[in-house]
């Protein structure tokens, strides 16, 4: 980093530091910082804010005026906050933490975001940007995903990276995490690009701390938030626009009708990227959003080929066929019935006993059979189909 910094004129470095410092102020969002970068310059903006006279800088003046009803003392509050920050020291903190920083319009800023309609004013990243030079596909979806959804996300992610495509996602629970975990577990196969809402030093959700570190060390971890940014609500839709901006296509695996992934999809549409969705069962709430997208013209994903075609890699030779493995062992009639009942979505033992009209022990035995064969998985008291379930054959079929 030091070599990179030294190559810059001193003034630019201060501009970068001030851009970072401005992003750390509460109430100043990426759009305002970007307007400063494009306008008066962040150094002047920072000095004005610090002096308690943000009115001199048009974008900040506009912001203060809009917020006046809610927060009449905003200018003074910003000045107080700014007094506690030394921009250059703050920038050095990022560098010391192994983060690289680039402001919009400066060398080093990711090429893919340069022409974005609402690019981040500053980006922070760890890892290597080479993943962005390859084709990129975002795999996103709901946090509360079904087992089938997570399996599908993981399988798609692995099949894409094996063909040299980088997988972009948000490192959230559910679909996002499943996709990246699969990429990280296939060490060396390809690049995971994680875009997070908080500062890079902070793994959110905490449960994904290990995944967060692994993506940072093997792939690319990127954010527009400086150190110390909390997981405030507004940051997540903002993060989603970066995911859309970085990707050649966006695949929504599972999403409810009002989920955050729907936002990612509309951001992708706004950027003229292809949106794809994995069709789910019509009655499954987890797939409602994905089906809405398909109804609105998104490309349905049957397998990885649909995604490859969407990013212009349709001719790619498949890397290998796992599906041609030995035919699965046949399953009992009751087990087949259980799989049928589970098709629309997860069920409890109680629901299965009623739907299969079988005894508790018999149903239980069938569930054990399916679990051992890997056709279903259990989470809490719920039983769900796995991606393997599609290949199940009953004894009757033979």
């Amino acid at each position: 980093m030091s070599a990179f910094a030294a190559a810059e004129p001193a003034g630019d470095r201060r501009g970068l530091a001030c851009a970072v410092a401005l992003s750390a102020l509460e109430g100043i969002g990426p759009a305002t910082v970007l307007a400063c970068v494009r306008g008066t310059g962040t150094g002047a903006a920072w000095d004005a804010v610090r002096a308690g006279r943000p009115q001199r800088i048009p974008p900040i003046a506009e912001l203060v005026r809009r917020r006046a009803a809610k927060e009449p003392e905003m200018a003074q509050r910003l000045a107080r906050q700014a007094a506690a920050i030394d921009p250059v020291v703050f920038l050095e903190r990022h560098e010391a933490a192994g983060q690289r920083v680039a402001a919009y319009g400066t060398p080093g800023y990711p090429e893919r975001l340069r022409n974005d309609p609402s690019p981040p004013a500053v980006v922070f990243w760890q890892g290597s940007l080479v993943g962005l030079d390859r084709p990129t596909v975002a795999i996103v979806g709901t946090r509360n995903a079904t087992r089938l959804g997570c399996d599908t996300a993981a399988r798609l992610a692995v099949e894409l990276v094996e063909r040299g495509v980088s997988v972009v996602s948000g490192l959230a629970l559910g679909i996002d995490g499943a996709a990246h975990r699969a990429v990280v577990d296939r060490r060396g196969a390809g690049v995971a690009i994680g875009v997070v809402a908080t500062g890079l030093e902070r793994a959110y959700p905490r449960r994904h701390e290990l995944l967060h570190r692994q993506v940072a060390s093997t792939g690319l971890l990127l954010s527009e938030s400086p150190i110390g940014s909390d997981p405030a609500r507004w940051r997540f839709p903002a993060r989603n626009r970066i995911i859309a901006g970085l990707s050649d296509a966006v695949v929504v695996v599972e999403s409810r009708s009002a989920g955050g992934s729907m936002l990612t999809a509309s951001e992708a549409v706004a950027r003229d990227r292809t949106v794809l969705a994995v069709p789910g069962h019509p009655t499954s709430p987890a797939s409602a959003g994905a089906l809405d997208l398909i109804a609105d013209g998104a490309v349905p994903v049957r397998d990885v080929t649909d995604v490859l075609v969407a990013i212009g890699m349709g001719g790619c030779e498949p890397v290998g066929h796992r599906d041609e493995a030995a035919a699965p062992a046949p399953i009992s009639h009751l087990a087949a019935r259980v799989l049928e009942v589970l098709e629309p979505g997860p069920s409890t033992l109680g629901e299965l006993v009623v739907a299969c009209a079988a005894g508790i022990e018999a149903t239980s035995t069938a569930l054990v059979e399916l679990e051992v064969a890997g056709h279903i998985a259990r989470s809490g008291g719920w039983f769900e189909r796995t991606a393997e379930a599609g290949s199940a054959r009953t004894g009757r079929d033979r």
Binding site: N144, L349, V353, E361, V368, R378, S379
Partner: protein
């Protein structure tokens, strides 16, 4: 100068303690002092006794009166000693012949007008007295008679008591509170529509003494199901019935003249305080809800809403079957061997945590579940999901088996457990499982693969085997546990979901 000693008793925790009320009357400044560690309500006896004696027409002595409550080293609580103090004062001051009260014990609170009022804990008190004849308030007479041995005299006022003792009038024959020996109406299991799995879980819980956690959204019928559990348990035997009756009497509940023969059901609200649940508090060490549920069912609805300290306090009774309440002056051991049934919503949104459908923010779920400690969740051998039954089941679903049919199977399974030397299979020790709950090769493989998957802990393994033993017992299956038994036991022990997609 006069002296008298009258036997009486007080209740601490669930046990009666004999107290000798000694009175010394001699010349001096007129007045009455009570010594021997009386608490506030006991010290106030001074004023009640004087007013009651005057109201009864007897003369109040102008001597100096000292009352000693022996043994004087333990704290005396409550107003049950009022009557004995009055009798001792009257004898010491020569108003009553000592001969008239020989071998008679007195229990009761006095009113200012001389009425004799009921006191809590009459059963353990009379039990501890061991007297030949005991005088009790009318309202407590039928309960006092439950104790075998003493002759129970009941009085309504001090005046009629004095007349009877002096032989001026016969012992009064008051209308006693009616004995209520009718079987308390139990709720029948056949009234539950659908919910086959939960009904089975209730049956297994009753048969094996396995603690049960029901996970389901509001309105799924968790409370209704839990309230049917006592009806499946075998009736209490004589010893348990006496023990339970003593506890309820000590807590101040009238027994209506009959021993409690049905296992009790206690369902404290989650706003209940620590003391009201666990017991203790004042010097009287009143039994709490967990002791009231002794030999019966303790139902905790909205488990996650209970304060974590209360839930942690449940661990001792769950392990040892007793609560030890220790205070600076003394300690009490309260029996608390109960079947714990708890209910909780899987998550605040009410979608029962259905994967892909629950709308709860992740943090809310984590906060919700953090209130339940792992060790507590681990005590539930049975953890089942309870969903709202759909309309067809509610309206048309066929009625299930009635409680009496299920209770018969439960009784059979309990017999088998007794033959193994335990009250119920849940109490089988780990070292005895090889003997009483061997598994077939197929079941062994299933357990091994579940252990390997990390879904089952070593402690959980034993619990699953005990439940499987109960399942087999209920089915009349003797011998090694098959894969179906183990599989069912595993499926009746759902992991508790901690947030989307993550298990604990």
């Amino acid at each position: 100068m006069g002296f008298a000693s009258i036997p009486s008793a007080i209740v601490v925790g669930v046990d009666g303690h004999r107290v000798a009320v000694e009175v010394h009357a001699a010349r001096g400044i007129p007045g009455l002092t009570i010594v021997g560690l009386p608490d506030a309500s006991c010290r106030e006896a001074r004023d009640r006794v004087r007013a009651a004696v005057l109201a009864s027409g007897a003369k109040w002595t102008d001597q100096r009166v000292t009352v000693n409550l022996a043994p004087s080293s333990t704290r005396k609580v409550g107003s049950a000693l009022d009557l004995a103090i009055a009798m001792a004062v009257l004898v010491a001051s020569g108003e009553l012949e000592a001969e008239h009260v020989r071998d008679v014990a007195f229990v009761g609170e006095l009113g200012l007008d001389g009425t004799v009022r009921a006191v809590p804990g009459i059963v353990p008190i009379v039990d501890a007295l061991g007297a030949e004849e005991v005088v009790v308030p009318v309202a407590s007479a039928t309960d006092a008679e439950l104790v075998e041995g003493p002759r129970v005299r009941s009085v309504a006022t001090l005046r009629e008591l004095l007349a009877a003792l002096r032989g001026e009038e016969p012992w009064p024959d008051h209308d006693r509170p009616p004995r209520d020996l009718s079987e308390p109406s139990t709720l029948d299991l056949s009234e539950v529509r659908g919910q086959a799995v939960v009904r089975r879980a209730l049956e297994i819980a009753a048969a094996g003494g396995h603690h049960l956690l029901m996970i389901g959204p509001p309105g799924a019928g968790k409370t209704m199901l839990a309230s049917r559990l006592p009806g499946l348990l075998p009736p209490l035997d004589r010893a348990s019935a006496m023990e339970v009756s003593r506890i309820h009497s000590a807590a101040g509940h009238s027994l209506h003249g009959g021993l409690i023969r049905r296992p009790p059901l206690r369902a404290p609200h989650h706003s209940a305080t620590m003391v009201s649940l666990i017991g203790g508090g004042t010097d009287a060490m009143r039994p709490g809800e967990v002791s009231m549920a002794h030999a019966g069912v303790l139902f905790l609805d909205e488990l996650a809403e209970f304060p974590p300290t209360v839930l942690d306090a449940l661990r001792q009774p769950l392990e040892e079957g007793v609560i030890r309440v220790n205070r600076a002056r003394f300690a009490a051991k309260l029996p608390a061997r109960f079947l714990l049934v708890a209910a909780m919503n899987p998550c605040p949104c009410g979608e029962a945590g259905r994967p892909g459908a629950c709308r709860c923010p992740d943090g809310a779920l984590a906060r919700y579940h953090r209130r339940l400690s792992g060790p507590l969740l681990d005590r539930f051998d049975l953890r089942v999901d309870v969903l709202r039954p759909d309309v067809e089941q509610l309206l048309g679903g066929e009625a299930g088996e009635s409680s009496s049919v299920v209770a018969q199977r439960v009784a059979g399974a309990r017999q088998l457990a007794l033959a193994r030397g335990v009250l119920a299979n849940a109490h089988l020790r780990g070292s005895e499982l090889e003997r009483w709950a061997p598994v077939t090769a197929e079941a062994h493989e299933l357990l091994a693969s579940t252990l390997r998957s990390g879904r089952l802990s070593a402690r959980g393994l034993d619990r699953v085997r005990r439940v499987a033993r109960t399942i087999a017992d209920l089915a009349g299956h003797d011998g090694a546990l098959t894969g179906a038994h183990i599989g069912t036991a595993l499926h009746l022990r759902a992991d508790v979901r901690l947030g989307a997609g993550v298990l604990a």
